[in-house]
């Protein structure tokens, strides 16, 4: 701020240009959000959901539980008062999940460490775990202007 006239200086313009280019690339790489860490893809999210419902369809509760996030397993076992593998297949929850088991994902959205997979009559939410996805909520029904109402969800 204020008025000032720069004193003339000799510029090493070539070196400055290459430094500026490197700095620009570095900043762009960081700000692009991709970084150096490989993130699981939307296709991988869809595969996780498919694998979950395939496990439900063949009544393999433990295999389906392996695809749930730890917080979701914990919440499910607390609510059902039985192991996760049994809780997914028993009672009304088991009936509901089994009825949705034949569906295939229609689309997936990924943002940062979260994903949402849409099926014809279900919505599933996932979170990054290592290099893959784990399901945080499944059996979700839409509620206007409110979070989804999910049959299985974490905290």
């Amino acid at each position: 701020m204020g008025r000032a006239y720069a004193r003339p200086v000799t510029l090493r313009s070539g070196r400055r240009r290459s430094l500026a280019t490197c700095a620009t690339i570095a900043v762009a790489a960081v700000l692009s959000g991709t970084g150096c860490t490989a993130r699981p893809t939307s296709a991988a999210a869809e595969s996780t959901v498919t694998a979950f419902y395939d496990a439900i369809a063949r009544a393999d509760g433990p295999a389906a539980c392996d695809l749930l996030a730890p917080v979701t397993v914990e919440a499910l076992e607390d609510d059902a008062d039985e192991p996760c593998g049994d809780a997914l297949l028993d009672g009304k929850l088991g009936e509901m999940l089994t009825s949705r088991a034949g569906q295939r994902p229609t689309s997936a959205s990924v943002a940062g460490r979260q994903a949402q997979v849409l099926l014809p009559s279900d919505v599933v939410f996932l979170t990054v775990s290592g290099t893959g996805w784990l399901i945080t909520a499944v059996g979700c029904d839409e509620r206007p202007d409110r979070p989804y109402d999910c049959a299985v969800e974490g905290s």
Binding site: M1, G2, R3, A4, P8, V30, L31, S32, G33, T34, G35, C36, T37, A69, P70, V71, T72, E74, A75, S109, A111, G112, R113, Q114, A115, Q116, F125, T127, S129, T136, A137, C140, P147, Y148, C150, E153, G154, S155
Partner: protein
């Protein structure tokens, strides 16, 4: 050959602000990852490292929402001070000096000196471009950082939405949401207030030795004089 000490002395202003900028970004990353992990734990999810955090859209939007407003502030300040005056402020040109000024005053073309920048010496598109290069660069950085804020903001917003079991949004949907405009306006208001405060306070207050202040003994009514 100029000594390192002399170079440091002659570039102290940029070195000082460059250093505290880096320190502030580090501080933002440290506090930001702590806040992000608080939200992760509240949702029953695992924490991430600071190395992972600085590559997230959550970090990028927090950085760029501030950058865009700073460069908008400088863009508006650089251009507004060409045409607008403020009696008594050292931030203003003298009251009879509004506008782009004469070629002689600006030392361009035939009025340039041997030491003038190359693009100031001859008439043509280079002179026209160079004559507005400060606002053009400030404006470009503003547009790019605001665009980056919008893109990374839509991703960060969608990530938070899905963590809370709600639908994500597209970029165009995000541009219409309160989150984008709230982030934008909360930054703009503080920047504009800062400039207004500087313009007005410098009429009546002094800082001995600073070029941003009038000399201590200068009357309040003196305009466009720096210390």
């Amino acid at each position: 050959m100029t000594s390192i000490r002399t170079r440091a002395r002659e570039n102290g202003l940029s070195l000082f602000f460059g250093t505290i900028f880096v320190a502030a970004v580090v501080g933002q990353a440290v506090s930001g990852v702590a806040l992000f992990n608080e939200e992760q734990r509240s949702a029953g999810l695992g924490p991430i490292t600071i190395a992972e955090y600085v590559t997230t859209s959550a970090f990028a939007v927090d950085v760029t929402e501030n950058w865009q407003s700073e460069f908008l502030q400088f863009l508006l300040y650089v251009v507004a001070t060409v045409f607008f005056l403020q009696r008594g402020s050292p931030e203003s040109k003298p009251l009879d000096d509004a506008g782009r000024e004469s070629d002689e005053e600006q030392k361009v073309a035939e009025h340039a000196t041997p030491d003038s920048p190359a693009w100031a010496r001859a008439r043509g598109w280079r002179l026209r471009l160079y004559s507005r290069s400060l606002s053009l660069v400030m404006g470009t950085i503003f547009v790019l950082s605001w665009l980056t804020q919008s893109v990374t903001g839509s991703v960060a917003y969608s990530e938070a939405q899905m963590r809370d079991l709600q639908d994500p949004v597209t970029w165009t949907e995000y541009l219409q949401l309160p989150d984008f405009w709230s982030r934008t306006f909360q930054n703009w208001q503080s920047e504009f207030l800062a400039v207004a405060a500087m313009v007005i306070l410098s009429i009546y207050l002094r800082e001995r030795g600073s070029p941003e202040s009038k000399p201590v003994g200068t009357p309040h009514t003196s305009t466009g004089i720096e210390g």
